[in-house]
């Protein structure tokens, strides 16, 4: 299956390990990753906070470029990017006024788009079964952290999972052999880009999430969202300093754990890119 792939600015830089692990597991799972030619930033939360047109037009350009690859499916692993591209494609197909504006701006006709736009969990959900598991994640106690953008608001996006108690990651992690702990913060918001503009609020939100994970008995948080992962992992040192806590909880992308269970070596999964080193934990469980 050929998949049009939009890394976005995050996966190109601050969330490199998601890009590395995504590509590493795709091949063996039968996914042919085709990077979208000359992609641009989707505008993130800034475009939809400042300009109605640009919040549509920036991701729409990527959708148009992706259509030239001949892929039937499209993914933007960063959930914020995913949301923008999903909505842009919908407007491109269903909102003639917006499409007309885009054509006026670019000075050329653009076609409708019929690729299926999938989020990062959706891409792997049906590919992970017991047959791919070579090294089960035995003994690893995890909580799954979906964040908000992948599951909320419901009925808006093409992906169905329960917005309050989603199950897709849980199912993947159980298949990989990890011990999945139920907890109430699966979709609690970490603050996302407020980490740049209202840091105190983000630190508190992320502290609460880490505390809940710890209290639930988790050894690691499994993340699917780049912003959530960054707020819990990269900013864990800031949180410890601010609240005089001593959290040492790795926040690992689910794609990295899929790779590990498939028997792919750790250095090909970007584990060294994480800030809270997961290796001592994984070694103690003989998973490395």
């Amino acid at each position: 299956m050929k998949l049009a792939y939009y890394p976005g600015c995050g996966l190109n830089g601050s969330s490199k390990e998601l890009d590395i692990s995504f590509r590493a597991i795709s091949g063996p799972l039968g996914i042919d990753v085709v990077e979208i030619p000359d992609w641009n930033c989707c505008g993130g939360s800034s475009a939809h906070s400042t300009s109605h047109f640009l919040s549509f037009a920036l991701p729409a350009r990527n959708v148009i470029n992706a259509e030239t690859t001949g892929c039937e499916e499209f993914t933007a692993p960063c959930p914020a990017c995913y949301v923008r591209h999903f909505l842009a494609q919908r407007d491109l197909n269903e909102n003639p006024e917006m499409k007309q504006h885009l054509e006026n701006a670019l000075g050329r006709k653009v076609d409708k788009s019929d690729m299926k736009i999938k989020n990062v969990i959706e891409v792997f959900m049906d590919k992970v079964d017991s047959s791919i598991v070579k090294k089960p994640l035995k003994g690893l106690k995890v909580v799954n952290y979906y964040g908000c953008a992948l599951v909320k608001p419901p009925k808006t996006f093409g992906f169905f999972d329960d917005p309050e108690n989603p199950q897709s990651l849980d199912k993947i992690m159980r298949t990989l052999g990890a011990e999945v702990i139920d907890w109430p913060y699966k979709t609690e918001c970490c603050g996302a880009s407020l980490c740049f503009t209202n840091q105190d609020a983000t630190w508190k939100a992320s502290r609460d999430i880490l505390q809940m994970a710890k209290d639930a008995g988790a050894q690691a948080v499994v993340a699917a969202c780049t912003m959530c992962q960054m707020n819990l992992d990269m900013r864990q040192s800031q949180i410890n300093k601010k609240y005089k806590t001593n959290f040492n909880i790795p926040a690992i992308f689910f794609t990295q754990l899929i790779g590990l269970a498939m028997g792919i070596s750790a250095d090909k999964l970007g584990l060294d890119k994480l800030y809270v080193d997961p290796k001592p934990l994984l070694r103690s469980l003989n998973l490395l």
Binding site: S51, A105, E164, A192
Partner: protein, 188 residues
């Protein structure tokens, strides 16, 4: 808040409320103040008015107060409110629309950090086609005066190969410029 004449305020802001309904596709008049949005909002603790109060203020036409509020700026768009609203109001979408309107009117209010962040971010994309993270961090810290924010993260990011010192320029920058010019032309 001091004494006010609700009828007069409503009259004055009727047109704005009509536009807000049209642009967001949402009608704050549908809110019956059950406060589920406020109960579930993960950032209510940092807001000046809880989301349910914003809805009530819109019903009463207190437009200026809403546009100047910190709530509109610090809403994280997590959509927990939207998910739970028994009246099916997309409250997150309303907040988004209000934020765009405030930005276009040049209302910074208590959201100076957000204003600087969004402006720097959008300029970066305009110039390069992609976000230039070092430029964003510098612009943000200079613009807000929080010069040391996140400087502790620079080295760890660099050591992990996550910071690119130079911006990445895409080939289609002329197309990006066309999109920005057009947005300016139509005022959106």
């Amino acid at each position: 808040m001091s004494k006010m004449n609700v009828t007069e305020i409503m009259d004055r802001n009727k047109e704005f409320l009509r536009e807000l309904r049209e642009e967001s596709g949402q009608d704050p008049g549908q809110c019956f103040q059950c406060m589920k949005c406020t109960g579930g909002c993960p950032f209510q603790f940092t807001m000046d008015y809880p989301p349910s109060q914003i809805m009530r203020m819109l019903q009463d036409g207190l437009v200026d107060e809403v546009l100047k509020s910190f709530t509109v700026q610090t809403c994280a768009t997590c959509a927990t409110c939207t998910t739970r609203c028994p009246r099916n109001i997309d409250i997150a979408k309303l907040m988004d629309t209000l934020r765009v309107i405030a930005y276009h009117r040049g209302i910074v209010g208590k959201g100076k950090n957000m204003h600087v962040f969004h402006t720097t971010f959008m300029n970066s994309v305009k110039n390069h086609g992609r976000l230039y993270e070092v430029g964003l961090a510098l612009g943000l810290n200079l613009g807000t005066g929080n010069l040391l924010q996140d400087t502790d993260l620079g080295l760890p990011m660099f050591l992990r190969g996550k910071l690119s010192i130079l911006p990445h320029n895409i080939k289609g920058r002329d197309e990006i410029k066309k999109l920005y010019d057009y947005a300016k032309k139509i005022g959106e």
